[in-house]
Symmetry: C2
Subunit: 401 residues, 2 copies
């Protein structure tokens, strides 16, 4: 049996200018431009194998070893569009284009962190299913030998995931074409431009049921007056300013805009009716700590940003990782085993500066389990094709849940 397959490893990204709201729900055309850093795949990534064969009797998908239904309209839209583009390029035969597709996707963060964390961690509550659509698109595009931009296809899987098509810092521009063809991701700088940039992800304990970002966005568009002002005035100015800051490696400006935009995104959530509340007391406690350490240092050591969930993502420079982590550890103490608590890049944690431990109005968090764990990572490259495959020679998952 002939099986043609491609496997890719794809990164996640953390937005510094947030995407919130669509002008077209079906085509996933965003209300405003957004911008993110792509994280290194060493510490968080998804691996996806896509395969086609004349013997496959139907399209099938397995996520983390469990078969899922393929009747999701977003996935169907992506597969259809990939095939249409492939047909136009003429690199596959019409027969091959008729073959059914098998998709198998696994993520290391999910395996490492429990089933629901990735959703909240990186893409909020868009399900891993939708993420996998994006991961599949990259692999499918390779398999079907598609040239040119594929972020417009990936976008239809999971909006913000389309920025993961490139490494470094990436913008997703809204475009002006009503059919969404120019709503695409573009790389601003590769990862090598700002090699000192680091990211700490503080995974916050939380048990509340959350509003999915898809329905939260819809609700904001319908009810938030402030969202209109954000889209019309604030985001365009910030996109220009933060792009300049990234090009100049001006961390102070980058950090300030990052924090302001995160705050404004959550402000719009609160202005929504009923409100969409994603940050919790621990999230706000971390933000307050970051403002405090920046004030005491007399310069900006770190910037926080929060997606549609309580976890804090800190952007900071390599030289400041030890002291920021020391402050986090001092004010959010943990009793979890060190090997389980710290993940990703190694780091030597210095002791917390005396002046910080003595700050009035900043007390150690009373609960030793406010943070579940911390991932230390950096900016990395976009998706990569790898040789190891998740499907066996029959096109079935090597590993089942």
């Amino acid at each position: 049996m002939e099986v043609k397959s491609v496997t890719c490893v794809a990164p996640v990204n953390i937005a510094v200018i947030k995407y919130w709201g669509k002008t077209n729900e079906k085509l996933i055309i965003p209300l405003n431009d957004s911008l993110s850093g792509t994280l290194h795949t060493d510490h968080m990534c998804a691996k996806t194998t896509v395969a086609i064969s004349s013997r496959f009797t139907k399209d099938r998908i397995w996520l983390n070893g469990k078969e899922e239904s393929l009747d999701n309209p977003r996935l169907v839209a992506c597969i259809t569009e990939v095939k249409d583009r492939a047909r136009n390029s003429g690199k596959l035969t019409e027969e091959e284009l008729q073959w059914n597709v098998h998709i198998c996707s696994e993520n290391n963060f999910r395996l490492a962190a429990g089933s629901s964390v990735i959703g909240r961690l990186v893409y909020s509550l868009s399900s891993f299913f939708l993420l996998s659509v994006f991961f599949s698109v990259y692999a499918l595009a390779t398999l079907y030998k598609i040239d040119g931009d594929i972020s417009a296809i990936a976008r239809r899987g999971s909006g913000s995931a389309c920025r993961s098509i490139y490494g470094g810092f990436v913008q997703w521009i809204t475009g002006t074409n009503p059919n969404g063809t120019d709503s695409i991701a573009e790389q601003i700088v590769p990862a090598s431009h700002w090699p000192e940039m680091r990211v700490l992800i503080l995974v916050v304990s939380d048990s509340r049921k959350k509003i999915s970002s898809t329905s939260g966005m819809q609700r904001s568009c319908e009810t938030s007056e402030l969202l209109k002002h954000r889209v019309a005035k604030c985001v365009p100015e910030r996109m220009t300013e933060i792009t300049k800051a990234i090009l100049k490696k001006d961390f102070e400006t980058f950090a300030k805009i990052t924090m302001q935009d995160s705050n404004q995104f959550h402000a719009v959530g609160l202005d929504t009716f009923p409100p969409c509340v994603y940050m919790n007391d621990v999230s706000h406690g971390i933000a307050n700590l970051i403002h405090t350490i920046n004030r005491i240092a007399g310069r900006t050591l770190a910037a926080y940003t929060y997606d549609a969930g309580p976890n804090a993502c800190l952007y900071l420079l390599e030289k400041d990782v030890p002291s920021v982590l020391a402050a986090v550890n001092y004010f959010f103490p943990t009793d979890r085993p060190k090997g389980e608590y710290y993940r990703g890049l190694n780091v030597d944690v210095t002791s917390v500066p005396k002046e910080l431990a003595e700050v009035k109005d900043l007390a150690q968090w009373p609960d030793n389990n406010a943070l579940r764990y911390i991932i230390h990572t950096k900016i990395g490259e976009g998706p990569q094709i790898v040789s190891e495959t998740l499907l066996n020679s029959d096109g079935l998952p090597k590993r089942l849940a």
Copy 2:
């Protein structure tokens, strides 16, 4: 020794359209109109005696039995303005106008609830000192026989307190005069217009250090883009709509605007840099509960509103108090003694509706002490002159701390 004195009892108010930001810090001229309900003095009030005498050697002030410094510029401004107005009216002799003033103020909520609660409860973090300036102004105006509007003087003591000069529902209009003379409070309807209106104040446990509303407002004016849009567009529309709703006794509309405006005020706080966060997880949990019971009932049972602190104030109609309180008690259980926990008007708490106890995604709050106590009150009248005095015949407090 001749001592002329006046004692007044003055109410507190809870805004439904929030005041946030000034165009003139010194004159306390607000960025936008605001609107509040005045609460009945039976359950929360401050009593203030002001006295003048030829024998008083200097101006003095006692708050809750403790002498405080009189060098606060707001208080000095108020006393000066009262005397100027009195001089113009000619009802006191020039000699009497030269006499020094003694002010003594006590509040029942503070005595009942611990020193810091009233600040957060009613006027956020404006101190009781500033509140007392307002209370003093009313009594001083009576003592000095001032005619006409005195809210413009009271405003200079504590901005939002000026609305407490009237009972019922009261608006504070920004005015257009740069000197603030037309930035005054006006009654929309007296308490008798909507006698079914009730207020539940859920006092939320909290230990965080807060940003004072004075400095929070300044910071918002300097850094929040969204505040501009709120002031220019959202508040004027809401003032018109909620006034109509109050006149028509249209609770659904009144409640929706109240909740939206509270949310928007906190959204602006979050959009401020660094952010001003006043609500906590319990506050958001209460808001979520209110949305849920309203949804299940198919109509609006209650509206929440939050000032610059975590306490929830619920506006609701008399007929719905038992079921709303039942829901609050079920989802925020307490182990405090009933007599200490429930304050104000009596109420029979019905059992929580079965369909509510079974709502998915709505769990009982894990901490039995999330709420400190609950005040049940209603809309009441403005300040009243009473005969009982807080000062003895020497003009000194009868009760010292």
